[in-house]
C-alpha cells in the first residue's frame, strides 16, 4: 500500500502548535508498523514565535536522511495556513497532497500592521493551483469544541490518516497517542482524531 518509496511528509506550523509532537507520534507509529522511518525536526528558537517544520521519511528499503530533497514531498500537513504555503516553494510539486488547518497564527509583523495576512480564499486558491489535492480543515475550531485548541494537532493527524498517503493504520496511531498522552485526555483526543478523519472524508478535496 506504499505508493512511493520513500514516502516524504512535511509537517509544518508555528511554534507552540504541537508540530514536533505530531511528527513524533507519526514516526513512532510508522516504526511500530515495521517501516524504516526517519523524522527530522527543525525547531531552533521556534517556541519563540518562529516557524517549525518536521520531515518524515518512510521506506521499506533503507533509512533515509532527515532532510527531504527539494520538490519531493508527497504530503504536506500544515498546522497553520501561511506556513503550509511557505513550505511549498522548497518541497512542493504538482502531485503533492496538502492538508492544512485553516486557523491563522498571526506573525508579529502582521500584528504590528507591517504586513497583511492573506485571506483564507487567497490561500486556498494558491494551494489548489500548486498541488493535486487540498483539504482545508478547521482543526483549531474542532479542537476547541472538544475542549482545547491544543488538540488541533491530533485532529490533523486524523486528517493525515484519511488521505491514504501514509502507510499507517488508525489503530497503531491511536495506540501511540495513548502511550504518550495522560489517560484523562484519551477520550477527547480520540474524538479529535475522528473529527480529523471525518473532515477529510467529507471534504470536496480534489482541486
Amino acid at each position: 500500500m506504499m505508493q512511493h518509496d520513500p514516502t516524504n511528509v512535511v509537517i509544518t506550523g508555528a511554534g507552540g502548535q504541537g508540530n514536533v509532537a505530531a511528527a513524533q507520534w507519526l514516526g513512532q507509529a510508522l516504526m511500530d508498523e515495521g517501516l524504516g522511518v526517519t523524522v527530522g525536526d527543525t525547531y531552533g528558537l521556534s517556541q519563540r514565535g518562529g516557524s517549525v517544520m518536521s520531515h518524515i521519511r518512510i521506506s521499506r528499503k533503507r533509512i533515509y536522511g532527515p532532510i527531504i530533497p527539494q520538490g519531493r514531498a508527497h504530503l504536506i500537513l500544515g498546522l497553520e495556513p501561511v506556513e503550509t504555503l511557505r513550505v511549498l516553494e522548497r518541497f512542493g510539486n504538482p502531485q503533492v497532497v496538502v492538508v492544512t488547518n485553516s486557523r491563522p497564527v498571526y506573525p508579529q509583523a502582521v500584528i504590528a500592521g507591517e504586513f497583511s495576512y492573506p485571506t483564507g480564499d487567497a490561500i486556498q486558491h494558491a494551494l489548489k493551483a500548486l498541488s493535486s489535492r487540498v483539504y482545508w480543515i478547521p482543526a483549531t475550531k474542532l479542537a476547541q469544541e472538544l475542549g482545547g485548541a491544543i488538540m488541533a494537532n491530533v485532529v490533523m493527524i486524523g486528517a493525515l490518516l484519511e488521505t491514504g498517503v501514509v502507510p499507517v493504520s488508525e489503530n497503531t496511531l491511536l495506540k501511540v497517542l495513548e502511550a504518550t498522552l495522560p489517560p484523562h485526555t484519551w477520550d477527547a483526543n480520540r474524538r479529535a482524531f475522528r473529527k480529523g478523519v471525518e473532515a477529510v472524508r467529507d471534504s470536496p478535496g480534489a482541486a
Binding site: 514565535g49 504586513f115 500548486l130
Partner: protein, 641 residues
C-alpha cells in the same frame, strides 16, 4: 518504559540522536555526567539526569561547560567513566582545561560531546568545534545516524580508556534532533567504585615528553581506526568520482547519488573516525578515482586533512582533482543537505538540472510572494522580557542621554529585534554583556557620557557573569546591570541552575542567592517585578541617574512557559469594544504596532483590537498599554482543564 534505561538487548526504540547518545553512554558504563544546556545538545544530559536515580549514576547541570568537564575529568581520574556534553560554544569556554587535560591524560574512559549547529538554527555563531581535536590531539568520532551515535558514544568511552586520552564525539543539530529506530545493546551489570590513587600525579609537565605521548596516542588511535566499522565504502571498484562523506552528511550523499542514478559510477566513502585520519584506509579509497569530492558540515576539516595527507604521497597515488568547500563546489557556510550535494555532483560532472522543478518553483514564487508575511522570532505571550524591555525603552527615552543596552545570550537576545523594541545594540557570547558594558563605562574619564545598561539572564549570569561583575565593581565602572531573573534556563528547555532549589535529577539543592552574590561583590541591588511596568520604568530611570559604580536591578518574574506548567496566569483578558476607538483614537494602534504581543490583534472586520483567545495566556501586562483603558483583565474562572 523509558528506552534510555530499558535493559533488553536487541529491542528497538524510536530515538532522537541525543537520546541515542545518552543510551550509548549508559551502555558504555558512564557514571558521571555533566553539561551546561545549549541547543542542540541539551537533551543528552536531560535523558541521563532522568535515568540517574534509577541507575545510581551522577548527573548535573553544571554552572558552565568548563566546570562540567573539570568535574568529569575528576571522575575519570577516580576511575569511573564520565562525559561532558555541550554545544560548540561550550568547547570554546572549556578549551583551556581541555588542552591541559590532553597533556595530563585521563584514567577511566571520558568523552567530550560537542553538538555543533550548522546554519546556526539556534546559535549566535556557526562554528566547527572539530578544531578541538586537532588543537588538543584528541581522537574524534562523527556519527551518521542515531544508531551509530549510540555505538560511537559507547565505543568512545572504551577508546578513551584504552588510550588514556580524552576522546571527542562530534554531532550536528540535524542528527541531534532527528529520530529513527535504534537497536539497543545491554547495560553494564557492574558499577565501579571511585577511588583516587594518591601515588600518582596528573599534570602537564614535563610538557614536551607529554606532548610526544599525545602524538603516540594519536598513532595508536589511527591504527585502530584503519579497521573501524565506522568507515565504509559503497560503489564501484573504479569510480568516476569519489565522495568522502563525514558523519551526518553520509545519508544525504547516498540519497543524492540515488536520485541522480549514479550509484554504480560514483563511489561513496563514509568516514566516521574523523581524527586522526586512518591514512592507509583513506589512501586506499583515493586510489579508486581521479576526482574526489569532500562533503562535511561547517568547515573543510576532513578536506584539509586529506589534502595534507595527499601532499605527502602524491607521487605514489598520482594526479587527483579535489572538490569541496575550497573550490566552491559546496558552500562554505550553512547546513549540508541532499540538494547541495546533488548540485556539486552535477557541477563536477557537467550534468544539466531538470527544468520541471524550477518551473514549478517559479510558479510558487509568483503565486505566493505577495501573499506570505515573514514570521519573525518573538517573545512568547506572557513573557516577562517583553515587559522588561518595554520599561527599559521608556526609561532610556525619559533619561534622553542616548543610553543603550549591551545584550547577552538567552531568549532576551531577541531584544535586538522588534519584539524587544530593538533595545540591545551589541550581543556576543555568554556573559559578555556586562564585560562590554563596563568597558564603555571605563571610557567615562575620556568624556564618554552615555548611560549603559547590561542585561543578563539568571542562568547566563551564573555561567559567566560573575567575573565581569567583580571586574566592574573593582574598577568602579558606572553602569547598570539588569538581571532578568525568570527562574530557569528558559531558552534551552527550563533546566535548573544554581539559583534554584532543585538540581538536574529533581533532588533538593542549595540555591545561590543572586542578591547576596551581587551585594557581597559590592554592588547595590534593587529587586522589581517587571510586570509592574510603571514602577520598573521609574526604578530604571532612578538607577540611570545615580552616579558611582555598578548598580544592579533584578527584574524577577517566572518564565511564561514555566508559569503555564505551574498552573498558568490569573487573568482572562478582553478588549472592551466601546472603549477601543480604533483609527479614531490617535494612538495609531499603539498596542499592536508597538507592544507587539502576539495575544492581541486587530480584527480585520471591526478594525478594533481583539484578544486572540488561542494565543493569549492572561498575564495581564498589556492593561497598562492602552491610553483608553480598553484592555480589561478579569479574574480567570477555571472552566475546562
Amino acid at each position: 518504559m523509558n528506552p534510555i534505561t530499558l535493559n533488553s538487548p536487541g529491542s528497538r526504540a524510536f530515538m532522537m540522536g541525543n537520546d541515542a547518545i545518552a543510551r550509548g553512554l549508559l551502555e558504555g558504563g558512564v557514571q558521571y555526567c555533566a553539561a551546561y544546556p545549549g541547543n542542540p545538545s541539551s537533551e543528552i544530559l536531560e535523558r541521563l539526569a532522568d535515568a540517574a536515580v534509577d541507575l545510581q549514576i551522577y548527573a548535573e547541570w553544571s554552572v558552565n561547560e568548563k566546570v562540567a568537564i573539570e568535574g568529569a575529568a575528576a571522575a575519570s581520574l577516580a576511575g569511573v567513566r564520565s562525559m561532558a556534553s555541550m554545544k560548540q560554544n561550550g568547547v570554546n569556554v572549556s578549551s583551556d582545561f581541555i588542552t591541559n587535560l590532553a597533556l595530563s591524560g585521563v584514567k577511566a574512559g571520558m568523552l567530550l560531546i560537542t553538538c555543533d549547529d550548522p546554519g546556526a538554527v539556534s546559535s549566535t555563531n556557526e562554528e566547527d568545534a572539530r578544531f578541538i581535536a586537532r588543537l588538543a590531539d584528541l581522537p574524534m568520532l562523527e556519527p551518521s545516524t542515531p544508531q551509530e551515535a549510540m555505538e560511537m558514544a559507547r565505543f568512545g568511552l572504551e577508546l578513551s580508556e584504552q588510550l588514556g586520552s580524552l576522546c571527542v564525539l562530534r554531532t550536528v543539530t540535524r542528527l541531534c534532533h532527528s529520530r529513527s529506530a535504534v537497536s539497543l545493546g545491554s547495560l553494564p551489570e557492574k558499577r565501579r567504585v571511585p577511588r583516587f590513587d594518591t601515588s600518582v600525579t596528573w599534570r602537564t609537565f614535563p610538557v614536551a615528553p607529554r606532548h610526544a605521548k599525545m602524538h603516540r596516542n594519536l598513532e595508536q588511535a589511527e591504527s585502530l581506526f584503519e579497521n573501524s566499522p565506522f568507515n565504509t565504502y559503497e560503489g564501484p571498484e573504479e569510480a568516476e568520482l569519489l565522495i568522502f562523506a563525514a558523519g551526518n552528511t553520509y545519508l544525504f550523499c547516498q540519497e543524492a547519488l540515488e536520485i541522480l542514478d549514479l550509484e554504480s559510477r560514483v563511489g561513496l566513502a563514509k568516514l566516521g573516525t574523523v581524527w586522526p585520519l586512518p591514512r592507509r584506509w583513506v589512501l586506499n579509497q583515493m586510489r579508486r578515482s581521479r576526482r574526489i569530492l569532500f562533503v562535511e558540515d561547517v568547515d573543510p576539516f576532513v578536506e584539509d586533512g586529506i589534502k595534507a595527507l595527499y601532499a605527502q604521497v602524491c607521487s605514489d597515488v598520482g594526479v587527483r582533482f579535489f572538490y569541496g568547500k575550497a573550490d566552491g563546489a559546496l558552500p562554505g557556510e550553512g547546513e549540508t543537505n541532499p540538494d547541495v550535494v546533488m548540485e556539486a555532483v552535477r557541477k563536477i560532472r557537467s550534468l544539466e538540472k531538470p527544468t520541471a522543478e524550477d518551473i514549478y518553483r517559479r510558479g510558487v514564487r509568483e503565486r505566493t510572494e505577495e501573499l506570505i508575511p515573514p514570521r519573525d522570532l518573538g517573545f512568547c505571550p506572557g513573557c516577562p522580557h517583553r515587559a522588561s524591555f518595554w520599561s527599559i525603552k521608556n526609561a532610556l527615552k525619559l533619561d534622553s542621554r542616548d543610553g543603550f543596552v549591551s545584550g547577552d545570550i538567552g531568549c532576551y537576545t531577541l531584544s535586538l529585534m522588534p519584539t524587544g523594541f530593538s533595545q540591545s545594540k551589541s550581543v556576543h557570547c555568554m556573559g559578555s554583556g556586562l564585560g562590554v558594558a563596563a568597558g564603555f563605562a571605563k571610557l567615562r574619564g575620556q568624556g564618554f557620557d552615555q548611560p549603559v545598561i547590561a542585561v543578563v539572564g539568571d542562568s547566563t549570569f551564573y555561567h559567566s557573569g560573575i567575573a565581569p561583575l567583580v571586574d566592574a565593581v573593582h574598577h568602579n565602572a558606572s553602569c547598570l546591570l539588569i538581571l532578568l531573573d525568570n527562574g530557569a534556563t528558559a531558552m534551552t528547555g527550563f533546566q535548573p541552575h544554581p539559583g534554584l532549589e532543585k538540581n538536574a535529577t529533581g533532588a533538593e539543592a542549595r540555591a545561590v542567592d543572586l542578591e547576596a552574590l551581587c551585594e557581597a561583590a559590592g554592588a547595590s541591588v534593587v529587586v522589581q517585578d517587571p510586570f509592574d511596568m510603571t514602577e520598573t520604568r521609574d526604578a530604571i530611570y532612578r538607577l540611570l541617574q545615580q552616579d558611582g559604580g555598578l548598580r544592579v536591578l533584578i527584574l524577577r518574574r517566572t518564565c511564561a512557559l514555566l508559569q503555564r506548567r505551574l498552573g498558568g496566569f490569573p487573568y482572562r483578558m478582553r478588549v472592551e469594544p466601546s472603549r477601543c476607538l480604533s483609527e479614531e483614537c490617535g494612538c495609531n494602534r499603539f498596542c499592536t504596532r508597538v507592544f507587539r504581543c502576539p495575544g492581541l490583534y486587530v480584527d480585520p472586520i471591526t478594525g478594533k483590537t481583539s484578544v486572540d483567545d488561542v494565543i493569549c495566556v492572561g498575564c495581564g501586562a498589556c492593561v497598562e498599554i492602552c491610553p483608553q483603558g480598553a484592555i480589561i483583565r478579569e479574574a480567570r474562572c477555571d472552566d475546562a482543564a
